[in-house]
């Protein structure tokens, strides 16, 4: 980290903005996948809608959704 204070401060804001957006996106994804699965979507549809593989979406969300009592359709 070097340069003027203004540069440092705006770089810090820019980096923190990226970190906050990731947290926001994760939270929105958690809520959206939960909503979809609660309303009867299957993993393949959710994965396609998110643009990721079925394995990826399953790995990321299945354990949590089972733990909070969402009834999941078979893969």
């Amino acid at each position: 980290m070097s340069g003027t204070e203004i540069t440092i401060s705006s770089a810090a804001d820019a980096l923190a903005g990226v970190a906050a957006l990731r947290r926001l996106a994760d939270r929105l994804e958690d809520a959206a996948v939960e909503q979809a699965m609660r309303t009867g979507w299957g993993w393949p549809q959710v994965a396609e809608a998110l643009g990721v593989t079925r394995q990826a979406v399953h790995k990321k969300h299945a354990k949590r959704l089972i733990a909070v009592g969402v009834e999941l359709r078979r893969r």
Binding site: A12, A16, A20, L21, R27
Partner: protein, 156 residues
Amino acid sequence: MGTFSSYLRTIIDLGRSEASKDGSATVEAQHLLLALAVGPDAAPRQLLAEAGLDHAAIRAALSREFQHSLAAAGVTVDASDLPAPSYPDEPAPHLGTSARLALERGMDATARKNPRPAHLLAGILLAQVGTVPRALELVGIDRAALAERARRAASS
């Protein structure tokens, strides 16, 4: 040392619960800070309280940091409008990078010989960038001064 190990385990466990409330897959420095504010040792709690930081105040500062950083990326959200995903009441399993750095910074060579709870607080406060320093700055806390007080309290 035995006492400190059990304190550290308690703080990490409390941090895991804080992380799971956030839906975070990892325990980060801010979760350890929240844990210290309610942890079993009075020294870090008192240092934080003297700076006006109880658990609720730290949560409020973190929420402000989130909104402020989103705004820096051009996004305005009202946190109460966000959908609330369901998270199981299971502690987050892993320590994240910021928590690991806080532990490393807190447990420097002197601290390792006689580790005390205030060393952990100092370690968290020594970070110059990231969520914790930004949150504290936004609520007007002199982080470096508080880190120094924590370090002195740990070695007294």
